[in-house]
Symmetry: D3
Subunit: 248 residues, 6 copies
């Protein structure tokens, strides 16, 4: 039995609130256990310089933890005049994850900004961000699609993420902060609803890990991803029907 009573292959309770703020084209407040992230998707009618004139769109992410989302207050990046390395890494990861399931040509020359602001952090903020941001992305894309349908509906697949790890010799799914901080192997797995991998990042800083460990962790992750994709579907209901159809 785990710290919070869960089984090893069980994710924490998930709560998704759509349309959380009133201005963003997509706005999702996602809670996975005590981890709470506000994921907003904003649409801007221009693209970064490297895409100008290509007809393609872009999806970019900014991730940020509020100073007291953590147990000890964390100074803001602006106070130190530089972005934290971990923050950079995470926002690049979220951007890649979402772009992997979207047809950027179909979007046209627009940028979709994903803002993931962590209100409370209890482990798994990057995976929670991806799972929530995907829903916000769908809402934002649908807002456009309802006004003027895309020739090809741009979202091709669901994408979601979970963490797995080895903690006290057990392989466990969806680590909370206490588990995460003591885990000897920590892995984030991002997958689509077709069971394919978008990204696998496993680290054994404490100690390297074997191929067998890797395989078992991946199997565990797959279980978690399935649970989480079902929750995304439940939350989106009819609003996810276009995904993967090209909009026909």
């Amino acid at each position: 039995m785990r710290i919070d009573g869960r089984k090893n292959d069980q994710i924490r309770p998930v709560k998704v609130t759509r349309n959380y703020t009133k201005y963003a084209e997509g706005s999702v407040f996602i809670e996975v256990g005590d981890t709470k992230v506000l994921c907003n998707a904003s649409i801007e009618d221009r693209v970064p310089p490297f895409l100008k004139g290509t007809g393609e769109g872009w999806i970019t992410c900014e991730y940020n933890m509020l100073p007291r989302s953590t147990q000890v207050r964390k100074p803001r990046d602006i106070a130190k005049l530089k972005i934290d390395g971990r923050t950079m890494e995470i926002q690049r990861l979220i951007g890649r994850a979402l772009r992997s399931v979207v047809d950027l040509k179909a979007i046209g020359e627009k940028t979709i900004w994903i803002d993931c602001d962590v209100i409370q952090a209890d482990g798994g903020t990057r995976t929670t961000s991806i799972s929530g941001a995907f829903i916000a992305l769908v809402d934002a894309v649908n807002k456009l699609h309802k006004v003027q349908p895309f020739k090809v509906y741009p979202i091709r697949n669901f994408v979601t993420a979970v963490s797995v790890g080895i903690f006290e010799n057990e392989k466990i799914l969806d680590l909370c902060y206490e588990e995460d901080s003591k885990a000897i192997v920590d892995m984030n797995v991002i997958m689509t609803d077709e069971g394919e991998f978008v990204e696998v990042q496993g680290t054994g800083e404490e100690k390297p890990f074997s191929k067998k460990d890797l395989e078992e962790l991946l199997a565990l992750a797959e279980k978690g991803v399935k649970q989480m994709i079902n929750l995304q579907k439940e939350s989106l209901k009819m609003d996810c029907l276009w995904i993967g159809t090209g909009g026909k």
Copy 2:
């Protein structure tokens, strides 16, 4: 009748959620109409260099708007590598307001960090921040006081803030964004529960204003402050009994 159906001397509906996040010593989510601010108070066991060895404490504030708290996405300060002038002005204002009702000697050599993060902005974010931050401050101070009582309970008064302004020739209380952006005079008034002023900031950028206007606006502000202090008291209930007593 105003845009949202209010009378000129009426504040918007207020909702206060205490203990909103689990780590901060004081954590308040305050909603004034569609303006929503998360106010967290954190206690740190040291003071800025200019107070070291004086036995006095400090209260400092950081204010920030989430990128999509506004109608159009506003880039983060860190992306521009500099703090916005308006942000600076507001966080200094909030800090002064709270310090004015606290006995910093009584706190001892501690810093109380107030983080006001605007989740959704619809006018009055600085006044809402002050009103909410005061409650978070009380909760944080009480947390200390319950463990080891202060010799002198450090909070001497309630403090709260409202905006008033002149919009379409009417003097109105608690402006929403649409009113604020077209007001010809805009004033923020910070007062205590004893009806004294902590700060008065009135600006007539569009057009100067007369002494009579100033007096009427101040009278209107007083009405608003009374309503808001009552709401603070309702929210704090028994937890505000020490205020102004010195803790005896």
Copy 3:
């Protein structure tokens, strides 16, 4: 009797030197007691992005204290790679004050840069800056007007500023540094020559203040503003005749 022998309602000796430097379109060295500020107005033939194509002009201010304008050397902002919060607040205030008496449409798509560099600081640097910058602004606008008259002369009113405060239970006008640093209430009042307010900023950081205090301080400020506007008129002589006439 005050520290420097003045009466409570008396401003310090004022000396204004126009055309202080040879390149700026308007250049004023203003001394109010021992406070000395160089106010330069520069005209640039373009506007910030948010005004492009609107036909309107802009007035913006940068305020800066030389490192040894103060008793203890103050490191330069560039050495710390960030603008001081107080500096930001003051330069925004000066900008608003000047814009309030100018018809920005009449100026056309130009920016007037106001640089207030404090050479020596003995209290009241922000009010002295406003009073001096106004004269520099008139000189710069007249330089344009003489070459090619504006359809509508853009300056509508005189604007000036004074500080008032409560120090040792006395209400006093135009505080020097020693008074300012110990005042329990500190107020800056910006007014036009028609006796209307442009901005009122009163702070009681030490201790809140009553409505009666506020009224008495405002009355005192009015006296000071009148004295200062007379000095501006004396200094500008014939060069202020266009103000408020629209240039006819």
Copy 4:
């Protein structure tokens, strides 16, 4: 046959020059095909604040590409006043990789700085950096060990890294730039000489990938790691005899 005539499971020619510069405690110039990286290890007699007084040491990495290491000149980070996100990600990765095979307690309160400066980039700069930095680390640690032997020799394992990917439907090992830029799956694998994983990072930005792909890529990576570890051993010769022995 690949672009440069290699077989799919073949790494590029590797050349290692130890003691490349004369000041660094460990200095390795490593060439993998046309990718050339200077890896310097420097020892400093203090640790970052979070380790002070713990008796533990630290290994940290800074990675940088010279402006013309790439086909088109890349502006320096300092010219843009911010570190590139990719740079951050890579230097964190290299640091984790090296720390995973070192006993930081055994090092004592010292920091080992690893500087990886890319002189020429033709794909695989991060994996090349890890493979070269490991040799520089061994040289630096041995320099200390020869003067005053560690109680426990701190390096426990060899660590090395290779890239694998899917390019034109082929799974290939050690991608050069041209292959890398068109690969649909890109994976970096960091392993020890005991065949355990330190880090696995696989990304399918273009398109997700299947479990079968993942397994085949991992197998290919293992082949590459073995070749590279043999090269590290050849290069270090007798100087790697202490590794994994604890120094006895």
Copy 5:
């Protein structure tokens, strides 16, 4: 005859105002023609880290041009978040020049900050800064010496600087801006009252220059330095008697 009627070997009129501001330990306003620089010397009771515990003092300089000291307004460094290269170069030059005539051991562990703020620039701002800063330095050192005499009076020599250059085939002394901007060779010479060189910086960006040119320019500079040192002596009067005596 030159643009302003001077002979080739004639410096511009010089005016020195000592004790220009009231707080700085040494404060000199120096005017050389239309070039006007405020030179303040401040004493701080600590030294930079590299001198701690050595018993030696330090002299450091910050140079800055006010935005409208030039014909076209020059944005402030802080607005661009980086110090201008030319500014850096000049402040390092001024620091070296002053340190060359001071016995830093005799000063003890103090830092003397020299702030040169250019109020108006008409060529020769760096040489004018050195000449003025030297007088401010003497005043600051004397202020200490009068309170508690140094064992060894730390200033060993006068130091001053002039510019020379080739303009329209003439070799000229002390170039004004118009001459400087068109000169094909530009040289700054810093010398002591004993006729020795502290620094020689000659540049022929437009076109290289011959040895003969160099010699003639140096001879011309010597003439200028003599004139300028006499002016420093006149300005300092009795206050320069300790220089070079060691204070006996």
Copy 6:
């Protein structure tokens, strides 16, 4: 006899490797004794704003020391978020030196970026950079010239640089680090192959120097420059035949 056995008027062994990296239009690795600098020249088809539309080109330099090019590791500029003053000074110097022998009109609206990255520093990094960068510049210009000949071949002269100084009462040529750090006079001389000066920078921080010293040092520098220009010619062989001919 000097530390490394050289005579006073002897430069260190020089080794030049052209085409050191494969992407840069000119790429030179130059070694002068133990000082090693990689000098890359890159061509960009645009010019800085101040040259747009003038038809003229530009040459600009960036100089940087790798962190462990020095005896003690030197933190990167980006880690401190500001460029070192010395770095600024040197890169401006190199830029001026190269521009002095190039006809910028003949280049047309292109920028040539010179990157000097110091791999190992043992004194004379700035002079070595100039001598090496000149060769890289010739290679880059020739690459263009061979594809489409310039109307006027833009390089008019060879340019090279050496250091001279006074060390233990001896005047010596081409100082190594140990000599440089203890020299009482330090001078950098940049000259053309016609024996004309481009730049002379002599500093006597420790102690001023006499005219006689200056003359002897310049004579010594001339000797060194001749040796170095011969080495540049040897290295460039036939590729320097266009220099000074205008390309006919």
